[in-house]
């Protein structure tokens, strides 16, 4: 069962590891990212940031989709963390059981627009967000669980 998919350019760090996992009651975290599995330092840092008592799986996007579709993840209360809106869109497109996408942190880039605190989207990322919303995914903005949910549809 998918508890939440979060977009955060920092992937797993204090905020994610502690508040979200605790708040969601997740027992498994999936880091879906194409760089981390082949970047040893990043992988090490993420593994060490893992909260106790929670399983942590790191897979590239393609293997993440395969794992989700195979049903191997069904028995977990799964919290998925991705780095970008594009990765979130790929996962939710391939696996419609992802009904909620949380935008937690997207750093500013050349040509991006600040739509909310800590959320900066390029025009093509705004399009991907709209595409997810059209498919019925709830896209919401919140840095930490206690923040008030802001629906992305109201700010783009």
């Amino acid at each position: 069962m998918i508890k939440l998919l979060r977009v955060d350019h920092r992937l797993l760090h204090g905020q994610v590891a502690f508040s979200w996992t605790q708040n969601l009651g997740a027992d498994c975290i999936l880091i879906a990212n194409d760089d981390v599995p082949v970047n040893d330092l990043r992988k090490t840092t993420i593994k060490l940031a893992k909260p106790q008592g929670v399983k942590l799986v790191i897979k590239n996007i393609e293997d993440s989709i395969k794992a989700l579709q195979s049903g191997a993840t069904d028995k977990y209360k799964l919290f998925i963390v991705v780095e970008s809106v594009a990765d979130a869109q790929k996962l939710s497109e391939a696996y419609p059981a992802i009904e909620q996408v949380n935008l937690g942190g997207v750093k500013a880039k050349e040509g991006s627009r600040n739509i909310s605190k800590a959320i900066n989207l390029l025009p093509e990322e705004e399009k991907l967000v709209k595409k997810m919303i059209e498919k019925g995914v709830e896209v919401e903005i919140r840095q930490v669980p206690n923040d008030k949910k802001v629906l992305a549809s109201t700010v783009i």
Binding site: G14, Q15, F18, S19, Q22, N23, C28, T44, K47, L48, K50, Q52, K55, L56, V57, I58, A67, A72, T73, Y76, Q143, V144, P145, N146, D147
Partner: protein
């Protein structure tokens, strides 16, 4: 209801609350006391002003900066009041543990024991830790 009070010599307590809220969001059941910052500060009066906000069926977990320090010593005198639980050794990991589990339906003893244990485990010599990375996990 459970309340938390962070108390320190100087600004450590308010600084830790600031950092905690950056990570976990705002909390309305956490007090801080930054003791001895100004000549006129009176720790006992500062403690009293917190205590008057605690109802008879509430609980207050006080975390002080260091065991044996004067802030902790003063708080030890309050332990006749059974609503008060006192922990020495304020740090960010401990406060995050406490605030994130404070509303769970567990006893306050249990909350404090788990939080102290987890906070102790979070104090690490990273150069050594990096030699001992957990193996890859799969579903």
């Amino acid at each position: 209801m459970r309340y938390l009070l962070l108390a320190s010599h100087g600004k450590l307590a308010e600084g830790i609350l600031d950092s905690t809220e950056m990570i976990t969001g705002k909390h309305d059941n956490v007090f801080t006391i930054s003791a001895y910052k100004h000549e006129e500060d009176d720790l006992n009066r500062q403690l009293e002003s917190v205590m008057v906000q605690i109802n008879h069926d509430d609980e207050l977990i006080i975390v002080t900066d260091i065991f044996g320090g004067s802030v902790n010593n003063e708080c030890m005198k309050l332990l006749d009041d059974t609503r008060i639980h006192l922990i020495a050794g304020l740090n960010l990991a401990l406060v995050i543990e406490l605030v994130t589990q404070m509303n769970f339906k567990i006893t306050t003893d249990e909350l404090i024991h788990t939080s102290i244990k987890n906070a102790k485990d979070a104090m690490l010599y990273c150069n050594q830790v990096i030699q001992d990375v957990p193996t890859n996990e799969d579903f």
